[in-house]
């Protein structure tokens, strides 16, 4: 696989937005359409059960935020990588050997 082929595969597989500031691109997952509230976890109940509901909701919300942040960061890195591969392909046509 040549660098340019890898760049093309990355863009296609992850639906990356290359060359536009390396944003998350169309393939970024949008997150839940209808995010659950603490009340949906029983967080409005009294006593220890309400505390449990709020704790589980907070953990779920934090997990979703963590996955979204990871997705955004990694997609930006992959987009920058694809962009770098394409730029390197152009530069290496005169300075290095491409076996593909």
């Amino acid at each position: 696989m040549t660098p340019d082929q890898l760049a093309t595969a990355l863009v296609a597989t992850f639906d990356l937005d290359v060359g536009a500031g390396n944003g998350p691109g169309a393939g970024a997952h949008p997150g839940p359409a209808d995010p659950l509230s603490p009340a949906d976890f029983g967080g409005g109940a009294p006593g220890g059960l309400g505390e449990l509901g709020r704790a589980v909701h907070a953990q779920w919300a934090a997990a979703l935020a963590a996955r979204a942040a990871e997705d955004t960061g990694q997609r930006a890195r992959l987009a920058a990588t694809a962009e770098g591969l394409r730029a390197a392909t152009d530069r290496y046509s005169t300075t290095d050997t491409l076996d593909g």
Binding site: L6, A45, P46, G50, V56, L64, E70, A88, T95
Partner: protein, 234 residues
């Protein structure tokens, strides 16, 4: 009043062992169906358990009754446990698991090859971590959803049994704001135990490590000449 027309039976608290049921098992599918029943029982169940809570508040419970440690553990009366179960809204929908990055043998010779190789190895390692985190998040969503469905299902069973019980008749026919007879106190405690016994815990602490955000650690790479070869600024 329809509840009172059913044959009144003495209560027995079943062994409850829900949570973590195997996906696709008969019990798992039944939990999802039975969970919806709770919404239909909510009005009559809430009315009965409001009375139960009042009796327990005014008259207490018999010494050494098994409802007492449950009230202490959850710091809630039976009516609050019903509201907790009724509020649960499973299932949770997890974000998709990302694709892995290929171990791409890039046909590339020259000094930039080593730079890119180190960078790509770092990206692949991080992507593997993200896949693991996403899979753990999906498993968490499944486990929490199963717990919610099972709790709602078992609460529906408990409320249905309570509504058709002899103890419910005793509670409903007790004089309001009057002397709470011992048999009424016993009936309220038994109903409270029936309801509170279906509440099982979920331990968020067990999931903390596997759900936390994973930071990206760039791989060490040899310096490259600016403007030449593969460079990356992330």
């Amino acid at each position: 009043m329809a509840d009172l027309l059913q044959p009144a039976t003495r209560l027995s608290v079943p062994e409850v062992a829900h949570g973590g049921r195997a996906l696709g098992s008969g019990r798992h599918r039944m939990d999802r169906r039975q969970s919806a029943v709770l919404d239909r029982l909510l009005v009559s169940g809430r009315d009965l358990l409001t009375r139960v809570d009042r009796v327990l508040t005014d008259g207490g419970a018999p010494a050494d009754h098994p409802v007492l440690p449950l009230i202490t553990r959850w710091r809630v009366l039976p009516g609050g446990a019903l509201e907790f179960a009724a509020a649960l809204r499973p299932p949770l929908t997890a974000p998709p698991v990302p694709a892995a990055l290929p171990d791409a043998p890039v046909e590339w010779a020259g000094p930039a090859s080593a730079v890119f190789g180190a960078h790509w190895a770092g990206l692949r390692a991080h992507q593997e971590t993200l896949v693991t985190r996403a899979e753990a998040t999906a498993e968490y969503a499944t486990q929490v959803s199963d717990w919610m469905f099972a709790l709602r299902s078992d609460m529906a069973d408990a409320v249905a049994a309570a509504l058709g019980s002899a103890e419910a008749v005793a509670i409903r026919t007790a004089l309001p704001d009057g002397f709470v007879a011992p048999e009424v106190v016993r009936a309220a405690a038994d109903l409270g135990h029936l309801v509170l016994a279906v509440v099982t815990p979920f331990d968020p602490a067990a999931w903390t490590a596997s759900l936390s955000e994973s930071p990206y650690l760039p791989a060490d790479r040899p310096p490259s000449a600016p403007g030449r070869g593969f460079t990356i600024n992330t």
